[in-house]
Subunit: 686 residues, 2 copies
């Protein structure tokens, strides 16, 4: 390794061991998890056993208390929210863990609505062990000429398909399973599905309660499906990347204090939740001109990842995943690989989540933070018209990235928060990993005469069509808690030639202007970008204006991935994720409104959730409001996505809009070595 790289790593390690300042939004520590467990198991409120923990997370203090909390003063009350299963019921508990030696259950309620909490990893593992011992399955395996030792199955959420369907399974907590050939020939068992079999498992009884072997298809061959370097080569004849490393001669530019991160003009709290993964809280920016820190985002996180597949057949129609609510993003955020997932100058954070016994599971390096030197320009101008000289001012851009990678079975999601010194926050979702694949008899497209609901990506292998909808909960508090949602619609106008109506007596026939509209109620705050006229969408603070009178605000700038769901409104998966018909929703802040499809997603009916809440058409004008934004991708697979997909990204930005009196980057010092005037300083090629 190069000396500078070692130096950089040492610098990173040394600086990382910062003092651990606590904050009311800190995620639960290992000790707090244990205290929760103790209190719940000791509570007489739930006597049934076994009791399994399906969700344990911070029950955050009231927002007003958090906002008035001074950094440095230790948290007052610490509470956890728990969803546990016992006696065939879902139990909701609030647990006081202010004193982890003496935790106590504050409240308890039984969930009587539809749906169940997420699957625990343990029950997924237990369910996976069932098929081998189930004789009809063994027969199916044998009929396919396979060795049962080579076949493995995983739990697939079955969704909800109406009360009749639900009644078939006794209204019980069930799931389906999908099976693959898992042999040593390849790590990529997703490319080798055992098709045509439906298994239904009752997760409470931990028994198979439904089985059908409908049709047999050849299992695709292993050759060409592996991605492990030692299996793919040598020789490694692919495109070689020359190594490069970012060196920071003055050390790292950001400071970590417990869970608080400070960098350039930004400050935020970095948290972790087993359902959402990364949680960014209290992001604020220092305004050097105003000499004060100003609030931007109270809390932001991924609320749900809805991934419906587009094959209506028996073994596929129910592949309509809700990754956060059914599995939990934080529980499948695996350790990040330095030099691969995050560059050499990154610093890592660990996370904890509760296993089914409520015991804390530590995930090393579950999030990373790094400064990005991408070679982009922050701002520039060349002035060539000033009396014969050419004068250039330019500043390179350096941004701060907070990254987590979630691997939901086959798919990998690289989820980034990128902070810019301009005040912008860019949210990026990058898809990689492995397609869901269906076995088929086809080995060539010429043989295909019907709709196979996907692309033939290899012999006997269909990459099934699907969508991804990644929904962000963004409680923007632009310069204060009470905001309004403004739609500045770009409105074409005919030149009336009359100044009284915006026109002028010139040959110009048309132009556009801005029609400014403040949303009153929730119905005004829903926007389907693709079927709306172009508009700038803003979160403004109606009580804060710049010196010259513009409302202080932030603008939502989409950048691709603007697909919305095309499923019929009456289709069951669409009823569970009805919010995916529009990219933008705005709701009044409500501490219980976190999860877009509702709290209970597994087999949920969709009667809870973002669209349902918004039917109340609550007031969102000059209120504490929340932005919900969904990145959407329609994915028609191709061979280039096989056996592992090159990263495809979609993003959006939250940019200052009259937030500052002027560009905040002007009063930033030039970087070392910056030259302002015309200069031939680089290597000449010709």
């Amino acid at each position: 390794m190069l000396p500078p790289l070692i130096l950089a790593v040492l610098l990173v390690s040394a600086a990382a061991r910062a003092s651990s300042k606590s904050h009311p939004l800190d995620p639960l520590t290992a000790g707090e998890h244990s205290a929760v467990r103790t209190a719940v198991l000791a509570s007489p409120l739930i006597s049934d056993r076994p009791l399994t923990f399906h969700y344990v997370g911070l029950d955050e203090p009231d927002k007003a208390d958090v906002i008035s909390h001074e950094h440095g003063i230790s948290s007052t009350q610490r509470r956890a929210f728990v969803i546990a299963r016992a006696g065939g019921q879902s139990h909701e508990l609030q647990v006081d863990i202010t004193n982890i030696s003496a935790p106590s259950v504050l409240s308890h309620a039984i969930h009587h609505g539809s749906g169940f909490p997420r699957f625990t990893t343990e029950e997924e593992v237990a369910a996976a062990a069932l098929p081998d011992k189930y004789p009809p399955f063994a027969e199916s395996v044998q009929r396919r000429g396979l060795d049962i030792e080579d076949v493995g199955c995983g739990v697939i959420a079955m969704g909800w398909w109406g009360s009749d369907e639900q009644a078939k399974w006794g209204n019980r907590r069930v799931a389906k399973m999908q099976c693959f050939v898992i042999a040593d020939e390849t790590a990529n068992f997703y490319a080798r599905p055992m098709e045509g079999v439906t298994l239904v498992v009752d997760l409470e009884r931990m028994a198979i309660v439904g089985y059908k072997d409908r049709v047999r298809y050849p299992v695709p061959k292993a050759e060409g499906t592996d991605y492990r370097a030692e299996k793919v080569g040598p020789p490694f004849t692919g495109p070689a990347a020359t190594p490069g490393v970012v060196v920071q001669p003055e050390g790292r530019g950001f400071h970590i204090d417990g869970h608080l991160v400070r960098w350039a003009n930004w400050e935020f709290h970095l948290g972790f939740d087993m359902r959402a993964g990364t949680v960014i809280s209290q992001a604020s920016i220092y305004d050097a001109d105003a000499e004060m820190r100003r609030r931007v985002l109270y809390r932001g996180f991924v609320s749900e990842v809805f991934v419906p597949y587009m094959d209506p057949e028996e073994e596929w129609y129910f592949h309509t995943f809700m990754d956060a609510g059914e599995y939990g993003l934080g529980t499948v955020a695996f350790p990040l690989q330095p030099g691969g997932d995050c560059p050499g100058n990154a610093v890592y954070f660990d996370g904890y989540y509760a296993d089914h016994d409520g015991k804390p599971v530590k995930v090393d390096n579950v999030m990373c933070v790094f400064e990005r030197y991408a070679g982009d320009v922050a701002w520039r101008h060349t002035e060539a018209l000033l009396r014969g000289q050419v004068y250039t001012e330019v500043r390179p851009d350096v941004t701060l990235v907070v990254r987590m990678v979630v691997t939901m079975g086959n798919y990998d999601y690289v989820l980034d928060w990128e902070f810019k010194t301009s005040g912008a926050i860019k949210l990026v979702a990058s898809l990689s990993g492995i397609l869901e694949m269906k076995a088929t008899t086809y080995t060539h497209t010429d043989q295909i005469k019907e709709d196979v609901h996907g692309t033939l990506v290899a012999e006997n292998t269909i990459g099934v069509y699907h969508d991804h909808f990644i929904t962000y909960h963004l409680d923007l508090d632009v310069d204060g808690t009470k905001n309004s949602f403004v739609k500045n619609t770009i409105t074409p106008k005919r030149n009336t030639k009359d100044p009284a109506t915006g026109g002028a007596d010139t040959p110009r026939r048309s132009y556009w202007t801005v029609h400014h509209e403040v949303a009153e109620n929730e119905s005004d705050g829903q926007v389907s970008l693709n079927s709306s006229p172009p508009a700038d969408l803003l979160f403004v603070n109606p009580s804060k204006r710049t010196k010259i009178g513009n409302e202080v605000g932030y603008r939502l700038v989409p950048a691709g991935a603007t697909a919305t769901s095309l499923l019929a409104d009456d289709d069951y998966p669409q009823r569970r994720a009805s919010y995916t018909k529009k990219q933008v929703w705005v709701t009044p802040y409500n501490r219980s409104e976190k999860w877009a499809p509702g709290l209970y997603t597994v087999q949920g009916t969709g009667d809870d959730g973002l669209a349902a809440w918004s039917k109340r058409n609550r007031r969102i004008k000059d209120e504490d409001i929340v932005l919900w934004y969904t990145l959407g991708f329609h994915h028609v697979p191709c061979q280039d996505d096989f056996p592992v997909m090159p990263t495809l990204s979609g993003s959006f930005e939250l940019r200052p809009f009259n937030f500052f009196e002027g560009n905040p980057l002007l009063i930033r010092s030039r970087p070392a070595g910056h030259v302002s005037s015309n200069c031939s300083c680089g290597a000449q090629v010709m």
Copy 2:
């Protein structure tokens, strides 16, 4: 400076002096420019003087000849195309410069259609000197309490407003002018316009032929408008960026051979043109699996930048710029600043363009090429379901960026071509620089009762609403010259429950499938993304299929900036840029069809150009076809854009779609230090 940085610079310098291998698409050298000049001035075909050179560029060899040209064999014929003005006419010449000692004019024609070629820098300077000597202007300046020495004016293309308007100016080659207070108090004269005055200059007579002083507005103050570091501070209290530099311990990864650039699996020719700026030609990718180099893009460049402003008033209605055709992007691509415009590991290329005398002007560092280490992920997968262990494969992404920055008066455009080893090409346009601003009496928004066609960005200063439409000419030759344009429309379906019609007897009610449509003629190849159903748009090679039968292709993936023009179809600027109603056009290759609004843009009527050519509805199926794609931005200015704008980007990607048999990155070696298994290798924070 840090030793590694010096080392990196030395490495860059040393490697840059590569051998100069010529290629038929090489831009004209200084010697060739001189030869063109000699031939044109010596030709008896044009006797009128003065003769001014408005465009000189490579008249490229026939495409078939270029494609069959072997790298290494010196070019055969070299020709230039010239547009010159003499005797009040536009002259088109082809000049043979194969032997620069004996150049000769091959052909000559006089342009009889509408419009004129671009303004030369020299006539812009000459025109700028006129107002001072024009008494009515001096009076206007005096009336405003200004010193004429502090006022400067620049040429503004006036567009075309119908034959009556044109006749007012005797159908002559005219332009308008815009004036500013250019005093030492600030470099940012754009923020201090002298409003209310219209000047019309006859560029042939070089005299002011029209003048009106309609209305007076206060000139905005200089305070707060400057952006020069020494004027803005110290103190520099803005967000400090910790320095960072990319170090490449094994040296640079790309190789330059004349104008040929080779990097990883990419190879392309980098050219330069005074109207388009950067020209990428013959971009091909090495397919390690097939063991052959495969063609992707024959020629790509920015064809036009249309920037219409949305104020219909007398002094603003004609601000409807076509930056490439009226000014020339290459002529305002100023030297890039190392460490600011391009990172420390960049290599620079020079460019040449002809001045009005036909003499070559050298622009140092007009383009840069660098490897970007942004810390992104190329592909990854974590496998957690394989028998209890967690296994991760991840590859960091390294890309190659080719950058040029064009400063068109007030605005700066950072125009990037980004090559990825996955085979994707990402085109990025980043806007920075200064808004066009209009003076006003208003100092606070409360005073504003009417539509001011912009945002009050400072006291007495309106940032006028406007659009940017950046149109790319992309002659994709996917795996060969003859391609087809395919629309894979994402089509919602109701589950018929009948396999014969794609359905299945399951509770699923809906899904989407792909409706595959091959465009036959040009009318089928026009797509307005915002008013079309979602679709994957592909350039495919109908003669090339993968082993399993998929058509080899590339997919167009938009990423934001999908605005289209909202001007009325009968509005004069819209008639000149009618193609801006749709983001996508596909035409059959035609060597003369380069410039989207047509060859003559200044005062052009729009009777030439992309929309006109396409009316012929030519065949585009299994033909040599060209993709025209427009990035569009509606810009509602805000104070944060003042006095210089933080960069705002829009982009699109061309991604392989069944181009490869599988992901080409798998057979790429792991980077040094990569660890595949679960490992806690980074700094622990908690």
